[in-house]
Symmetry: C2
Subunit: 294 residues, 2 copies
């Protein structure tokens, strides 16, 4: 089988054996934002044409490729759900010479009944289930971080935080960013930001403090981004960890970001373990087993 993790800004594909072992892999910058004129079929064929010629005939895609901005919109599967429900809700995409299917995203509600959505992360969670023992709390940090509760091998609820995107908007488009310069990450400034998030006054007040502390030389222009990052991640963590004291957080994502969250979670007095980064391939393999292939 061929599986594809096709996101907003990246394209990663894997040829996998029946037991899920990775036989070959490729990646490109052809995220859905960088596929001009809806040429998704052509882009896919360029990437995996030789694997199809070599006899592969099943292709499973996960990620934003199944969104309204992607190839075809795959309706969300309602939470709670697991690999079986996702596998039963795959969406076929017409493609000459192979069966191509999209993994749907998942929707749910938060503790207050407000809608939640994810697309791509459900597949990573399915791939991480075995490592989590089928139960527990996972965090997938990123532009829109996800916190996912897993019970008995199924996703039962999840919440999102706009942490990564808010960081970028503040860094690039506010007075805070004008007082910052890019530089090497500073762990001490990052942890100071995490600590600040526990103090009274709220996030909007803490953000103003980034300005004053730069103004009064508490940290340098190059340390500013680390402090701001720690402050925002700290606010995300405290909102999530408050209700689950003592629980281990399973981190899934890019190694640099996972390392940041790991040290921030430790600074909050909680525990975290990192799972390996190939969760999406494993998840696609597992969901593929539940699919109705011709």
């Amino acid at each position: 089988m061929i599986v594809v993790d096709w996101g907003t800004s990246s394209f990663r594909t894997f040829r996998i054996a029946a037991d899920g072992a990775i036989l070959d892999r490729r990646s490109s910058a052809n995220g859905i934002m960088h596929v001009p004129g809806g040429r998704f079929a052509e882009t896919l064929r360029e990437q995996i044409g030789d694997w199809l010629d070599a006899g592969e005939s099943r292709v499973l895609l996960a990620g934003m490729i199944g969104s309204r901005q992607g190839w075809k919109e795959a309706p969300y599967v309602a939470c709670p759900a697991g690999a079986a429900e996702l596998g039963a809700a795959l969406v076929d995409v017409p493609f000459d010479g192979a069966q191509v299917k999209l993994v749907p995203g998942m929707n749910g509600v938060d503790a207050s009944g407000v809608a939640e959505v994810m697309r791509g992360e459900e597949t990573q969670i399915v791939g991480a289930l075995a490592a989590m023992g089928g139960d527990g709390l996972a965090c997938l940090p990123g532009t829109h971080s996800k916190w996912v509760r897993v019970e008995n091998g199924r996703i039962v609820r999840f919440t999102s935080h706009m942490t990564g995107e808010v960081f970028s908007a503040l860094r690039e488009h506010t007075i805070l960013g004008r007082m910052m310069k890019d530089g090497a990450p500073n762990e001490a400034a990052f942890i100071a930001g995490v600590a600040r998030s526990a103090e009274p006054g709220g996030a909007l007040h803490h953000l103003f403090g980034v300005r004053t502390q730069t103004l009064f030389g508490k940290f340098t222009e190059t340390d500013g981004p680390s402090y701001l990052s720690g402050l925002l991640i700290g606010h995300e963590l405290r909102a999530e960890l408050g209700s689950v004291p003592g629980e281990t957080v399973h981190l899934i994502g890019a190694p640099e970001l996972v390392a940041l969250y790991k040290s921030a979670i430790a600074a909050c007095g909680a525990k975290a373990v990192s799972l390996d980064a190939e969760a999406s391939v494993r998840g696609l393999a597992i969901i593929g087993e539940h699919a109705q292939w011709r």
Copy 2:
């Protein structure tokens, strides 16, 4: 005396009588960001030259004109302080044919010892002191909202929130803004945002909910800005009002913004009164009485 409220984006000047009565007024778009090449003296003379010719010789300036980006940096006066301390710390600016002085900004620390600064708002507070009876809590909403505690006619502490600037950055530079359209403000959506800020999950999670609720049709693209505004103002209010239950908030600022805050404060179950918008002129008149004029 001539007084000038000279901020980042606007310039307002008043000719006042000895008793503080406004004799004449002018305004222009010559905020310090719109004075090319440091031509502050020339800009001032263009605006008030005829008043000087008519016999005025004392000019008092407040606002960002006294910042590093302005005409001359006036060092902050440390909190607690009132009109007397501000009047004793005025900074002279060389100017042919008149005495020109700058009102300094004020600095302090928040409940956690983190630095706080303001420049311009201290003058508005001085002007509002009489209306507040010399004691109480004032809120000056804006790009960087200020909450100011007044005791015995002096400013004893204050905190800032980046509410207005964060709103703009999110509205203009995130996925939230791409799902919004400008339209008439919607009071119901605004109050829904204020209510949302009291729910669990934290601000970064609530922001993601702006996206999902638009996605699922809970409100329209044109209601989005009102909801986002209510959400952010709600977070500011809850951080400030939590520690002062039952206290009346004295609102000082632009009428539209004051009206928004007033309805948000009512939605939080607290009380607010609005003071008139000419607080800065009155404050300048009072501080001018404490000045050492030649």
